[in-house]
């Protein structure tokens, strides 16, 4: 089993928590209490390739600007980031873009998998007038930045699992490369049996990341 740390980022009320709850608990609440600080959940999936099991340890962060200073603590050691926007609110895309920028600047790991996710697809399926972010614009941005990209609905569950599967596949392929290069160096074959241990935040001082 491979474990990865995943962080959710994005503007307030774009549906970060709803996406996670759909993925982890397959449930949806129309009105979910706002996340304060961050919430932790975990879920495992099985990839088609090699029957690999991937376990995600997910930190779902609070979206309001005031909590922004907490985010580094959660993305610092992340293997993947899910940057969420609301396809019915164009402001939320620019917020997502600023998160992507921050991740690229602050996270040293060039293997960080970033996935851009437009949520509330169901609203636009009911009434196409509600869409305010065109899928082509978002897709283009994602391609430019080298991000995975999905439009999903946490409410109906559409494409939510695909997001995590796709992230898992990317992480797995990175991992395989890494193991391969290692085994080549060592001249031994580990068959990918190495259990990847998550890096955990090492600092005990919560303020250190908030300046």
């Amino acid at each position: 089993m491979l474990q990865f740390k995943l962080v959710l980022l994005g503007d307030s009320s774009v549906g970060k928590s709803s996406i996670v709850h759909r993925f982890v608990k397959d449930s949806f609440d129309e009105f979910r209490e706002s996340t304060i600080g961050a919430a932790f959940l975990s879920q495992s999936i099985k990839l088609d390739e090699d029957d690999t099991v991937i376990k995600f340890e997910i930190w779902d962060t609070a979206g309001q600007e005031r909590y922004k200073s907490l985010a580094p603590m959660y993305y610092r050691n992340a293997n993947a980031a899910l940057v969420v926007y609301d396809i019915t609110a164009s402001d939320s895309l620019s917020k997502a873009q600023s998160w992507v920028e921050e991740l690229k600047n602050k996270v040293a790991d060039d293997k960080l998998v970033i996935c851009l996710v437009g949520n509330k697809l169901d609203l636009c399926q009911e009434d196409s007038g509600k869409r305010s972010v065109e899928i082509s614009d978002a897709k283009q941005y994602a391609d430019e930045q080298g991000l995975l990209f999905f439009e999903v609905s946490a409410k109906t569950g559409e494409k939510v699992n695909d997001v995590f599967k796709s992230i898992g596949e990317s992480l797995y392929s990175y991992k395989k490369e890494e193991l391969l290069s290692k085994s080549e160096q060592n001249g031994t074959n580990t068959h990918g049996q190495v259990d990847l241990q998550l890096q955990k935040p090492a600092t005990s001082d919560p303020t250190s990341c908030c300046t």
Binding site: S13, R32, A38, F40, S42, S69, P206, T207
Partner: protein, 640 residues
């Protein structure tokens, strides 16, 4: 003496009042019960406080023995940790072992309100919450030993009094020196005799309560089991509960309505142990400093404040006001997801009210602005103030009824205004929690971790080993004052105590700000940004120093300062107490957490099993927090 006078007063009062009707019928039973309670109470030093004479003697005699000085903290800590850890099933009684040592001669609150009261109104009634809790501790122990009857530890003292019991007068019902229940006389005379020795040495009958606890384990062995008495006991407990509720109500009646100037300190002290729901709206407003203690001024002040609020709201909806769209929008998003499981908050009228309150507060406090979590904090006020407009029998239904169905628009506006002002008062004391970077919360989280390190070092080390950081779970505890952790009725009970903990200086010192009428823009009244507390203005105070929020310096109006003068000895603050409550809350689960890994710990602490918590659980938690606070208060002053 003082007590008997009090009880007579109380009795007269209760007969005049609505709650007096049943009183005499239950009084005999209750007096029996009371005597049982008192004698059986393992920490009944609390009751000793109810007699002012014995109280002063007692504190003189025993403070040397029982009050800890800072040098003993570590030892105490270990002892407690050991006590807590000693069984996998958490036993409050074991846990409370050090309690009897610590607070002898001190009532639950007196460390913080350290003046000696006149005594007359300091009746034992106010301690009922403690009696109740501790009785339950007893029953836990009794279960452990398969013993239906609690044998009364210090009963021996009043053996000679026991005959009086059957003819106990009403006034005697309040006397803590009052003696044995018949169970004691029937069953445990032998066992209590050993205590009697101790007691005689102590000299006063009252003080004997304090010494009873350590003897308990021996006593239990000598108790015989009589199941039928258990049933009787339950019935009596029920009666006693009703009786004590009635007494509390009467007591609050006395304080709130009987005087020209309400005795704030007395009110705080009695409120700490819970406020009857019919008194809660008014008492909250008094505690937080919204209503003045001078009863003659209350009405006019409330009228003026309500008008100010309404003018402010009117202004927001005029064209002169340039709406802060992001703030308005953020609040709009959060309102429907505030308490989504309580029907009250789904009514459009309620949502509109909260939207107005939060928006007006946000634009008047630009340094902080609206921060998620404040939408949670506003709700206990709003919900409680609604109950003022419900018939007493329907107070419990407040969560189900649409206020529009029982209130006029004008009245809803009044509730909004009261809520707004009380929210303002409360947030004044925790401003640092919501300004940029939330330094107040970070500081509290840090203090919590240090406190846990001292109280329960095993748990602290376990967290370190598992890479659990306090901020990962405690941020929300601080940001929402544990509101998200408990159901609403538990939270409201908790707030009785929290509001009794609010800093008097701050609340009274700034009660006349916000003079501007109509001009609700950012240039007026209280809208100056609240700057962060100075580094020298610590969350944890050196004992003896006063807590001042910045507003108490800048906004203090001379006519209110005088009421603060009486409270100079207070050195507690809401923030500080809250950290102790959080510590008590965390340590409650210590045994469980020790067996968990990172993921289990975080998941558990994010969803603690508190859904069924009732007022008793909260009172237990608050008592524990109080104990930790009295133990570690000196230690915390070094945390700067």
């Amino acid at each position: 003496m003082g007590l008997r006078t009090t009880s007579k007063e109380m009795d007269q009062k209760s007969q005049a009042g609505p709650s007096g009707s049943n009183k005499s019928s239950v009084s005999l039973v209750s007096s029996l019960m009371r005597s049982w309670k008192i004698t059986s109470n393992p920490s009944s030093q609390k009751s000793s406080n109810s007699n002012s004479n014995s109280y002063s003697n007692l504190s003189g005699n025993s403070s040397g023995d029982n009050r800890l000085n800072s040098g003993n903290f570590d030892a105490m800590s270990k002892q407690q940790t050991a006590a807590i850890k000693s069984s996998s099933s958490y036993s409050p009684l074991r846990y409370s072992t050090p309690v009897s040592g610590i607070s002898v001669g001190e009532s639950p609150r007196p460390l913080l309100y350290s003046n000696h009261r006149n005594g007359d109104h300091e009746s034992s009634i106010k301690k009922d919450a403690y009696f109740k809790d501790l009785d339950e501790d007893w029953s836990a122990v009794i279960d452990d030993y398969n013993m239906p009857i609690p044998t009364i530890a210090n009963g021996g003292i009043s053996r000679s009094n026991s005959d009086n019991l059957t003819s106990t007068s009403l006034s005697k019902a309040y006397d803590p020196s009052l003696p044995l229940s018949r169970k004691v006389t029937n069953n445990s005379m032998k066992s209590s005799s050993s205590l009697g020795t101790n007691i005689t040495q102590q000299g006063t009958a009252q003080s004997s309560h304090n010494l009873s606890y350590p003897q308990l384990p021996q006593l239990q062995k000598s108790v015989t089991s009589e199941l039928k008495l258990q049933l009787e006991m339950e019935n009596e407990r029920e009666l006693q509960k009703i009786n004590s509720i009635m007494q509390r109500i009467t007591k609050f009646d006395c304080i709130v309505s009987d005087k020209k100037i309400i005795n704030q300190q007395e009110l705080r002290q009695i409120s700490w142990n819970g406020i009857p729901s019919i008194h809660r709206p008014k008492v909250w407003k008094l505690l937080i400093g919204y209503l003045p203690a001078n009863t003659k001024r209350q009405e006019s002040l409330a009228r003026r404040k309500r008008q100010e609020y309404k003018d402010g709201i009117k202004h927001i909806f005029t064209e002169e006001h340039a709406r802060d769209v992001p703030t308005w929008h953020q609040i709009e998003i959060d309102i429907p997801r505030t308490n989504p499981h309580i029907p009250l908050y789904q009514f459009k009228s309620v949502q509109n009210s909260l939207q107005r309150i939060l928006y007006l507060w946000a634009i008047r406090h630009p340094a902080s602005g609206y921060v998620q979590g404040i939408n949670d904090i506003v709700t206990p006020f709003f919900q409680t103030f609604l109950t003022e407009y419900l018939p007493h029998s329907q107070i419990e239904d407040v969560e189900k009824l649409d206020p529009e169905s029982y209130m006029t628009e004008e009245q809803i506006g009044d509730v909004e205004a009261d809520t707004f002002w009380c929210l303002t008062k409360l947030l004044e004391q925790i401003t640092d929690n919501y300004i940029h970077g939330q330094p107040g919360i970070l500081k509290q989280v840090k203090n919590l971790s240090q406190l846990v390190k001292r109280i329960d070092v095993d748990l602290y080390n376990h967290f370190e080993a598992e890479h659990v950081e306090f901020i990962q779970f405690a941020f929300r505890w601080m940001n929402c004052l544990l509101l998200r952790e408990f159901n609403m009725s538990a939270v409201i009970r908790m707030w009785d105590t929290y509001l009794a903990e609010t800093s008097v200086e701050t609340s009274s010192g700034s009660s006349t700000t916000f003079q501007s009428t109509g001009a609700a823009g950012t240039g007026s009244g209280e809208s100056n940004p609240h700057t962060p507390l100075q580094p020298t203005n610590p969350t944890f105070q050196t004992p003896g120093s006063d807590y001042h929020s910045p507003s108490s310096h800048t906004n203090a109006s001379s006519k209110n300062i005088s009421s603060g003068e009486n409270n100079r000895l207070r050195y507690s603050s809401l923030n500080e107490f809250h950290v102790f409550v959080c510590a008590a809350f965390l340590i409650k689960w210590s045994d469980k957490l020790m067996d968990m890994d990172f993921q289990e710990i975080i998941t558990f602490l994010q969803n603690p099993p508190t859904a069924e918590w009732n007022e008793n659980d909260i009172e237990m938690l608050l008592s524990e927090a109080y104990i930790w606070q009295s133990l570690y208060k000196d230690a915390t002053s070094h945390w700067q």
